[in-house]
Symmetry: C2
Subunit: 403 residues, 2 copies
């Protein structure tokens, strides 16, 4: 008899090795998931309602569902740089690398990052001059909190002045900048003026449309490039990508502001560029038009002028349409049973079904409605509208959203 | 020679089978993760900053990180029950089963559920009587939004009256109830009065402490069970578990409210039970004490009276301590370099380090500070304090949090 032990060993070992290699390869392919799942502290396979306990998964739960808030490795990041300040006078360099490094050290924030939006809004620090002003600001803030809760966006309300001289509309730039630094996990920062409200709670911003851009603003290219109009776009709502490009852009943009020695000069330049500019002083909106016109390669090519939906909508233009829109939506819901179905707030599975009705139609709910010129807080409204017409419009629009 | 093919086949097959079994077992153990990852629409292995693209993982990314908002299977859930209403008069039955069924059909909401908290707060619908009232409500709301953003809680601000007769403090019950129905994905609902603020942004509610309870409120057991005092607890802040127990409890609790025919009678009963009750009418707080005293087995045993930290803290008690607390915290930060380290807002890895200093000490920041009796909105403050002392205290506390 041949050496049975010898030959059975050598003839067994290869298949065992082969099987083990298969097993190990599988294990290696899933290593990141495994590592992630096993190192997260709260791995559980039970689902406890407090009344009953159920085993849902036969294996480890995807505890990687949550951010790891307590993990902060000792390796230094940009936060450890003593020169880092939140103030606007210190330009940031190499932000893309710094952010990438931070994310690599805090990987729980990476999944889903390309769609992560942080909404920033705010108002003055003290109480409003206008008696009902704060009440309106409260309702507008609630509106934004609702939209963000439904769509999983973070929101921050800023009422501190980051730079003492960058008042009113200029204050948004240091706000956005500080938010980028404090939230490297956010890919997009969305600025929305305090007096801009969400009037379509279901609408999801089509971020994939902006994958080659770093800034998105509502406007009309012809009004900007041909008419050189200061209202060719509206700077009350915009998206800006958390990037070195954004820091560079904001440095240049804010360079036209009241905290700079060139403020007066910029007022002249902007009035010269946009002949229809009404107010004398340099403002952020005309500044934005200026940069699109004069520095197209550097900035313009990365700025998306969105005129496909109301990323920002002028309230006077929208007000008259609301009744017809409500009728149309009610009509669709009457005819389409699936759209009448109730659901949890966090489940919004019907956009595809709605799109079939809304595509190409002119009665889609405006995404955002902006009460430009109404100034609910200071009360110094644009002479074009009476204070009462502003208040009535706000009431009407807020009720439109609530229903 | 023996049949080589025959014997090598049979002697090879077993190890191959063994190896395959190992491989398949591994595969089976991770099947939920695999299934979950592969069926989620946005599987990606690249991380795109908009400037550069990096491959992070060698295998599938944990795209299960996000909730699946668009998945709503056709199988009916409690939402499809035409008898479902959000109003308080229709009791809910079998909620635990209904919720579990909904979760099973929307499994992306299951991971992490045991720690998922939804904060509910609110105020009256119209503007405040008191001039600075809305400004204060806005600051208090911002405070809550900040805390929730940091800790990943959802928040809803309710300013609609769910039941026309359930005014002031009674309005919280229908608010909480409606939120439970609209948010089956939330395990805990936290109610916080509009005039309660978070004064320790780092503190995480120790939910594991309440795993055998369904309701958590700040109070002192002796003051409740021995003294039968109506201030033995404070109903301005509480946690309630999204459960059938909670619906049953709220039915009984709200049964003492102004919308019921027994409202007057309950006023008498509650005054009889808690001799120190000051106001004549039936109120939710004394009602809660009553249920703890009179129905201990049914409700009391599931209600956790928390006196270990300021789940709710009386502002007058806290005000005088703030300066010392700030000094102590500054002292610790001076001596402990690790605690001076700056970090992203979403990374709070230092609680363990802080605990070493705070454990057992009396100068921990109060978790929440509640301006009971100040009534910033209506202005009809408790005769014990002047309006100015309330306003000064609020300003001091809000500044304490901001710093």
């Amino acid at each position: 008899m041949p050496n049975q032990t010898g030959s059975s060993f050598s003839s067994n070992i290869i298949p065992i090795i082969a099987g083990t290699i298969v097993a190990l390869s599988l294990f290696w392919a899933f290593r990141p998931i495994i590592t992630f799942t096993f190192t997260s502290p709260n791995t559980t396979t039970t689902f406890n309602t407090g009344v009953n306990t159920y085993n849902i998964f036969s294996g480890p739960t995807i505890s990687g569902h949550e951010f790891n808030h307590t993990h902060d490795p000792p390796e230094p990041t940009f936060y450890d740089d003593p020169d880092l300040t939140y103030t606007i006078n210190n330009p940031i360099k190499n932000w893309d690398e710094k952010r990438r490094e931070w994310l690599w050290l805090h990987p729980s924030f990476i999944p889903g990052i390309e769609k992560r939006v942080m909404l920033v809004t705010g108002s003055q620090t003290g109480p409003c001059h206008n008696p009902v002003g704060d009440h309106l600001l409260l309702r507008f803030f609630k509106n934004k909190v609702d939209y963000c809760r439904i769509h999983g966006y973070d929101i921050i309300y800023n009422n501190l002045l980051f730079h003492p001289k960058m008042f009113t509309y200029w204050a948004k730039i240091p706000s956005v900048r500080a938010t980028m630094l404090a939230h490297p996990e956010a890919e997009w920062i969305m600025w929305a003026d305090a007096d801009a409200v969400f009037t379509d709670m279901d609408f999801k911003i089509p971020l994939q449309r902006y994958k080659n851009h770093n800034f998105v603003v509502h406007g009309w290219p012809d009004l900007i490039y041909k008419n050189k109009s200061w209202t060719g776009l509206n700077a009350g709502v915009f998206l800006i990508r958390n990037s070195q490009w954004a820091f560079d852009f904001m440095d240049v943009w804010s360079g036209m502001g009241p905290q700079t020695p060139n403020y007066e000069k910029w007022g002249e330049i902007l009035r010269e560029t946009c002949k229809d500019k009404t107010k004398p002083e340099s403002d952020d909106q005309t500044g934005l038009v200026y940069l699109l016109l004069k520095e197209k390669e550097k900035w313009g090519d990365k700025i998306y002028i969105e005129d496909g939906y109301y990323l920002e909508g002028y309230w006077k233009e929208i007000l008259g349409k609301l009744e017809r829109i409500t009728e149309k939506y009610n009509g669709v819901m009457k005819s389409e049973r699936g759209l009448r179905r109730r659901h949890a707030e966090k489940v919004r599975g019907y956009s595809a079904l709605w799109e079939a009705y809304l595509e190409g139609e002119g009665w889609r709910r405006p995404f955002m409605t902006h009460f430009t010129g109404c100034q609910p807080c200071s009360g110094t409204h644009n002479g074009l509208y009476t204070r009462q017409s502003c208040l009535d419009a706000m009431e009407k629009v807020l009720n439109f959203v609530d229903n």
